[in-house]
């Protein structure tokens, strides 16, 4: 019934490239509670705080006890398929192009019955594993997969629409001088990336890590400097049409407090590298990504930013760097909305201080390259929009969710 996802053939130049379409994008504000959970890879559903009833879709009032105290809570990603159908000729062009669609009614273990997208191999009466995913429009949808571990979800083209798996895709790592690049390359290769292009800024300086990539099939080392209009234009001109995933590793860590003399120029440089650089690349490359959002089975899929959690709350002693990450974060959200027009995901990874040599004196825990690489592949293969990497980022996120003002004061006094 399903077939393995083989490497797509080269394009027929006589055939027009299909324009990207997306499913309907409108959701209520309340429904975006699901979007948030899906964006972060959590299977969470609305639960009444008063009586504990789980419901779906999101409601303002508990259908069991009429309480208005409803909040998202982790739910069991399990259920049973009650019935199924196959939509052969859907009305909306996005669905019609990809028909047939398998849709079913699932009895969730936590109570509600839900309509969900189905993996083609799920039989009525069978146990299913539930996923809360973001569809091509970036909206939360439910997906029911066979419970058995043997089924490769990548055999389902509908699943492939909801994730941004590196398999058979061509990836750009924007700054190969980033300390995590060797780990990222290894992880992307293991995930099946077809080609990995490594951008090397200031090509007149030695790239001493180059021998690490000798003999790795599909790795190409190219000059690319995100701070240079010319360099970015040259990359986009050559490879804009053959880049499906961008891993933006732009960073530049320099310490400095706001009132410390001599920190303005370094702050400017960090802003140039961390915020304006990716913006420059987006201007050159994003139109091609959006335009190729439906360009075959391995179409343009994602733009990943390695951000710091300190984009959201500044790291003491690193004001310029935190501000640059905050700017990059703000740019990223604008870019996300634009990329979604082509069904291309923008993924932000947030980490605490890393093993970057400029954090040498920082006390552990610090995030290493392997953790960043795992996070990138997890976010791509699961189609996430946001992922916190490491205990510092996870703890800071929880504290920010609870009381951002307390975080500000506490960081300010540390």
């Amino acid at each position: 019934m399903t077939t393995p996802f083989e490497r797509p053939k080269r394009k027929d130049p006589l055939v027009r490239t299909e324009l990207p379409l997306t499913p309907p994008g409108g959701r209520s504000r309340a429904a975006h509670l699901l979007t948030r959970a899906a964006a972060r890879g959590q299977f969470a559903l609305p639960r009444c705080r008063a009586c504990g009833t789980v419901h779906f879709p999101v409601r303002d009032i508990c259908p069991n006890c009429l309480s208005t105290e409803i909040a998202m809570a982790p739910a069991a990603a399990a259920g049973t398929l009650l019935s199924r159908t196959q939509a052969e000729v859907p009305a909306l062009p996005y669905f019609r192009e990809r028909a047939p669609w398998h849709v079913g009614l699932v009895q969730l273990a936590d109570g509600p019955q839900v309509i969900a997208h189905l993996h083609p191999e799920v039989a009525v009466g069978a146990a299913v594993r539930m996923h809360l995913k973001l569809d091509k429009a970036g909206q939360a949808v439910l997906y029911a997969a066979p419970k058995t571990a043997e089924v490769d979800l990548m055999t389902d083209p509908k699943w492939r629409e909801m994730v941004a798996h590196p398999l058979h895709r061509r990836v750009l790592i924007t700054d190969a001088r980033h300390f995590a690049t060797p780990a990222i390359v290894k992880a992307l290769k293991a995930a099946g990336a077809r080609k990995i292009r490594l951008g090397v800024p200031e090509a007149w300086k030695p790239f001493r890590e180059a021998p690490l990539y000798d003999g790795i099939e599909g790795v190409e080392i190219l000059p690319l400097d995100l701070t240079s209009d010319r360099s970015v234009f040259d990359y986009a001109s050559d490879y804009g049409g053959t880049t499906e995933i961008v891993i933006n590793t732009a960073d530049r860590v320099r310490a400095g407090q706001t009132l410390q003399p001599g920190t303005l120029l370094p702050a400017q440089e960090m802003m140039e590298h961390i915020a304006f650089g990716p913006m420059r690349l987006a201007q050159a490359l994003a139109p091609a990504l959006i335009g190729r959002g439906a360009d075959g089975p391995a179409a343009a899929a994602a733009w990943v930013n390695l951000l710091s959690i300190h984009a959201l709350a500044p790291l003491p002693g690193h004001m310029g760097w935190s501000a640059a990450h905050a700017a990059a974060h703000a740019f990223s959200q604008g870019l996300r909305a634009e990329l979604l027009q082509g069904g291309v995901k923008l993924i932000n990874l947030y980490s605490g201080p890393t093993e970057d040599p400029w954090f040498q004196t920082m006390i552990p825990p610090k995030v290493n390259g392997a953790a960043l690489a795992r996070g990138i592949v997890k976010a791509l293969t699961e189609g996430l929009e946001e992922l916190d990497i490491g205990p510092v980022a996870q703890e800071l996120r929880e504290r920010l969710d609870a009381n951002p003002k307390a975080v500000e004061r506490e960081l300010g006094q540390s």
Binding site: A203, W204, K205, P223, D225, S228, D229, R230, S231, E269
Partner: protein
Amino acid sequence: MEGKSDMSNVLELLVGELASGAVEVVDLTFTLREDSPVIVLPPEFGESAPVRIERISRYDASGPSWYWNNLSFGEHTGTHFDAPVHWFTGRDLPCNTVDTIPVGRMVAPVCVIDVSAECAADPDFLLTRARVEAWEAEHGRIAAGHWVLMRSDWSKRSGLAYANLGEDGAHTPGPDAEVMQWLVEERDILGFGTETIGTDAGQGGHLVPPLPAHHFLHGAGRYGLQCLCGLDQLPPRGAVLMTAPLKIHEGSGSPLRVLALVPRAG
């Protein structure tokens, strides 16, 4: 010309020579590009901004009929001029910034010492007093107020090979300490120029004093030129350099267009 002592028509004669090709204008300047190498210091120090050329408009929505760019760069990028104030030894001298240097010094004769063969054999080649004296034996004494340019043919390299950065720093040719002090004090030169990034050798920080070209030139109010090219088109002597830096307020240096007036035989 022709033995006449009347100089009133010298510019007229020069214009005629330029028109006939008897005097040629040679460009000794690299194109300012975004990928131009710049001096590398340990990154904990402040760094020079690279050359950036950012489009304001090019007959497009941002300017339908016109093309123009914003430019940014450090004072010491591309083919550039070092003023005395650039180095601590020249910090208290009068007229030590690019905006106050007497313009009369921006047109001056030049001696070109060709050590390209030595530099091809040894990227760490150091120009010595003995080597310059050998040049003088052949071409005559270096007169006061001349530029001295060290021709290494380094400008024929590009990118990685031009910067030539090893794990122990840059490996590019330059002068030793003795020759710099001697050129300044005994030959009263106007300045010293190279084809490499910096008037000093890549390993010049290990000389005594460190970076002697900077130390002695600027300490005596003399100038530096670096990232020159086209020195192979200059005669050993007889050419005139035009070296006008940008008039930057209290500037320590400046990218500039270096032109040479070169008499052609025949």
